[in-house]
């Protein structure tokens, strides 16, 4: 009698064979229909026999505020300026992937975070309305005719990148730079989407975005009027990363997701779903529209320790310059 009862119990607990669910914490834009979420979900679900659920919101605040109460398996969409703070929460496990396939332009040895795409921040403009875009940050500061829309470094990855970019290029003079920019700023938005939306509907001459943003307009809208201004001082490098959470209820599936991120399938798709450079694909294999975009001569890269070390002081300078 024992065996059938045992079998019945086992059957009860096992037979409702629901497909497993992988819960991935991601920034807001992943969840929208035009964001990278849907394509990544389809791609991964086709090979995992599972359900991929993006839980979207502000990723870093959620990690910091929820801590060990966080219920998710993996995280995607943090960037290199935030990884130290994320790492220090102690919430992450090893990704267990071989990173030799990476093609990012910086040495990458990290057993916690995997870059899934990268790019350079840049001021983006409409070349039919502005035919003499500045060719350096210094020139931008002299162009009082241009009004700008950009993102708050406290709430946005691209805003943080701009803050560190200015810190690197201008050092001591950063506060004067912010005062200068503040005078021509239409608004500083919390996130990228609102800024970019305001720019595309003509509310500003230039928007803080990425060197790769024009590709979206070229490919998805067959519109080549959007360009990124390439600056002589160089552009700030930023990679977006993914990682596995230590208290994942499904760690194996989370690591499969990391493997998927490095797969050729994901890498050849990401350029056109997240409008950025692939992290594990040689440049000659990039889509032509992405490869042919103007590429900065100089990359400015701060590793996470350096970025974090500068952040607080740079933020003081930013606040000082913006509130004076």
């Amino acid at each position: 009698m024992r065996i059938p009862v045992f079998a019945a119990v086992a059957a009860l607990t096992v037979t409702p064979l629901q497909a497993e669910t992988l819960v991935v914490l991601a920034p807001d834009y992943f969840g929208s229909s035009w964001g990278p979420g849907p394509a990544i979900k389809d791609g991964f679900e086709a090979r995992c026999d599972c359900t991929l659920e993006f839980r979207t919101g502000d990723v870093l605040p959620r990690l910091m505020l929820d801590g060990s109460r966080l219920e998710a398996d993996a995280v995607i969409g943090l960037n290199t300026d935030m990884t130290l703070r994320a790492r220090e929460t102690g919430l992450f496990a090893h990704h267990a992937q071989d990173l030799s396939v990476l093609t990012v332009p910086v040495a990458w040895e990290d057993d916690t975070f995997i870059p899934f795409n990268w790019g350079f921040t840049a001021w983006v403009y409409n070349n039919t309305l502005l035919d003499d875009a500045p060719s350096s940050f210094a020139e931008l500061l002299e162009r009082e005719d241009l009004n700008l829309v950009w993102q708050d470094p406290r709430s946005s990855g691209s805003g943080l990148a701009l803050m560190l970019w200015v810190d690197q290029v201008f050092g001591e003079d950063a506060e004067a730079v912010w005062r200068n920019l503040a005078a021509r700023t239409v608004t500083v938005t919390a996130g990228w989407s609102e800024s970019y939306g305001m720019f595309t509907s003509g509310e500003a001459n230039m928007v803080l975005s990425y060197t790769t943003s024009p590709a979206y307009h070229i490919v998805a809208e067959e519109d080549d009027s959007i360009s990124a201004a390439i600056f002589d001082e160089g552009h700030y490098f930023m990679a977006e990363v993914a990682g596995v959470l230590a208290n994942a209820s499904n760690p194996d599936l989370a690591r499969d997701f990391m493997a998927y991120i490095l797969s050729e399938e994901f890498q050849s798709m990401i350029a056109f779903v997240n409008w950025s450079y692939p992290s594990a694909l040689l440049r000659e294999d990039w889509p032509a529209e992405m490869r042919d975009l103007p590429f900065p001569d100089t990359a400015i890269f701060l590793d996470e320790v350096e970025a974090e070390a500068r952040r607080s002081a740079a933020l003081d300078v930013w606040l000082e310059g913006m509130t004076r």
Partner: protein, 524 residues
């Protein structure tokens, strides 16, 4: 005194006492939790002091402009009779229950970079102006509070006995003399109170600064608390800012208390006394222009919300409807809590009487000076060691909303309850009516009108509130105002326009349903 009477009194004191304890916990307990985490004034950055200065500056400007503009408009309304006057005065109550984000979207549609005014500027070859920053924040606050100020002052005009105007006419006063002799003294009494109420409201401004500030230059303390909490994860600084905010509110609150708040929100303003100082045609034209400008300032943004939103309501994503459902639950819960707490507190105030009753009443009104974000931060810090604060997002929002609506509800209900007690109290006692039976048979029917109005006000305020929820919830569990903010952030303008209209409709519907109920059998 018979036993049931004593029992009823004890019950009133018990429930009122419980409410008082709860209010103390909410207003001061949360503050205690905050103070425990605060790191001292050195934790504050220069920008935080800039936020303090900005908060005071914008509140002063907003209150000053609202009152200054309200004086000529109220004066024009007071001495003119025209078709739709009553309706216009009723509509002037609307901004009070209008969700902030709806107002912001309406104002952006009119004054934004691609709004109506800038389009006209463009056609005239003038350069467009930028709405974001101090002037945007002040504009939104004036939009909100100009009608409130106008209504408060109109009451003042209505309170000037018609005999005086008659006398003034006999004495041959010009409009200017009338102003100096009759109207200016009234304004000296009322305007400071109106200024302080509006100053107090603007002191805790969060969502206006969040959406119209346009950067760190225009950050209120309330917004700085949110940013320290959310962006810097700096609980110590958030707590310190919360203490500063509490200090500001407490000082302003005490001053307002001393100056005596005008008993706002009263009705019966639509019957003007007969006026003889109507002046000539020039004055009539000027009054007409003033009234029309005031009405346009109020109505055009609202019309824009309706016009822009209507085509997009049908295609709204399901999250908006789910958020609407959540917000309705929060609003109804907050309403029930407010009414129950207000009734209990009001009974206790009257049962105690004297100084102690006044003290209890003061506690109920103190929430007027409380900052929702301070309370929210405190509750978050209290809950966090015990459970996941996210699980309490809606409950906390509901309770904080109830606390915020309480001063208004108390002010509406207490006078009628007091009147009920003096007029019906002895008879009811003689008949041996006490406790629940008395509440049901005598009190509630008499209080139906203020109860309905208070319930409508609470429901609408709670429906449109964006504040505490931003500390507690993520994408999941968003209320409708939060969902609307997210759509604005994602620059999904069509969806945002549709959601704004839904929010406007829901707030107005809640108000109208309760208020109608209140009027249903009033005075029986």
């Amino acid at each position: 005194m018979s036993d049931p009477a004593r029992q009823a009194r004890a019950l009133a004191l018990l429930f009122g006492g419980l409410v008082a304890v709860w209010l103390v916990m909410l207003n001061f307990g949360a503050l205690g939790a905050v103070a425990f985490r605060a790191e001292g004034l050195t934790a504050l950055r220069n920008s935080d002091w800039a936020a303090v200065r900005f908060t005071l500056l914008q509140a002063t400007l907003s209150a000053g402009l609202s009152v200054a503009l309200a004086i000529p408009i109220a004066r024009a309304l007071a001495r003119r009779q025209f078709f739709g006057r009553g309706l216009l005065i009723t509509l002037m109550g609307a901004p009070f229950i209008l969700p902030t984000l709806v107002a912001v979207l309406g104002l952006l549609a009119v004054f934004g970079r691609s709004g109506l005014v800038n389009q006209v500027f463009d056609m005239l070859g003038l350069s467009r102006f930028n709405i974001f920053g101090l002037h945007g924040v002040v504009l939104a606050h004036v939009f909100y509070n100009l009608p409130l100020a106008t209504r408060i002052l109109l009451q003042g005009w209505a309170g000037i006995p018609s005999e005086r105007f008659r006398l003034a006419a006999v004495l041959g006063f010009s409009p200017r003399d009338t102003f100096r002799q009759l109207e200016a003294p009234m304004l000296r009494d009322l305007a400071p109170g109106a200024f302080l109420v509006i100053f107090l409201i603007c002191l805790t401004s969060f969502s206006v600064a969040l959406t119209m500030g346009g950067g760190p230059r225009a950050t209120t303390v309330e917004l700085a608390i949110f940013q320290a909490f959310r962006f810097d994860f700096d609980m110590g600084r958030a707590a310190m800012l919360a203490l500063v905010q509490f200090g500001l509110c407490a000082v302003a609150g005490v001053i307002a208390w001393r100056v005596a708040l005008p008993s706002s929100l009263g009705g019966g303003l639509d019957r003007p006394v007969q006026r003889f100082d109507l002046g000539g045609r020039g004055l009539r034209l000027r009054d007409a222009a003033l009234i029309m400008a005031g009405a346009a300032f109020l109505l055009v943004p609202l019309a824009m919300v309706v016009l822009r939103g209507a085509p997009h309501v049908a295609a709204l994503p399901p999250e908006v409807w789910q958020a609407t459902g959540r917000s309705l639950i929060v609003a109804l819960g907050a309403t029930a809590a407010t009414i129950a707490m207000t009734l209990a507190l009001a009974h206790a105030v009257l049962a105690l009487g004297g100084k102690r009753g006044a003290g209890l009443e003061w506690l109920g009104l103190a929430a007027l000076a409380a900052s929702p974000l301070v309370i929210g931060t405190g509750l978050f810090l209290l809950i966090r060691p015990l459970a996941n604060p996210r699980d309490f997002a809606l409950l906390v929002t509901m309770l904080v909303n109830a606390g915020m609506a309480m001063p208004f509800a108390l002010r509406l209900i207490l006078p009628d309850l007091r009147a009920e007690l003096t007029t019906q109290g002895r008879l009811a006692t003689a008949l041996g009516l006490h406790g629940w039976a008395r509440l049901r048979i005598v009190t509630l029917p008499r209080l139906r009108r203020p109860l309905g109005f208070a319930a409508g006000l609470t429901a609408a305020l709670s429906m449109g509130d964006l504040g505490v929820i931003m500390l507690f919830a993520e994408r999941e569990g968003a209320t409708l105002p939060m969902q609307l903010y997210r759509l604005m952030n994602a620059y999904r303008q069509d969806d945002a326009a549709g959601a704004a209209l839904v929010l406007l409709g829901a707030s107005l519907a809640l108000f109208v349903v309760f208020e109608r109920w209140g009027r249903g059998r009033a005075g029986t």
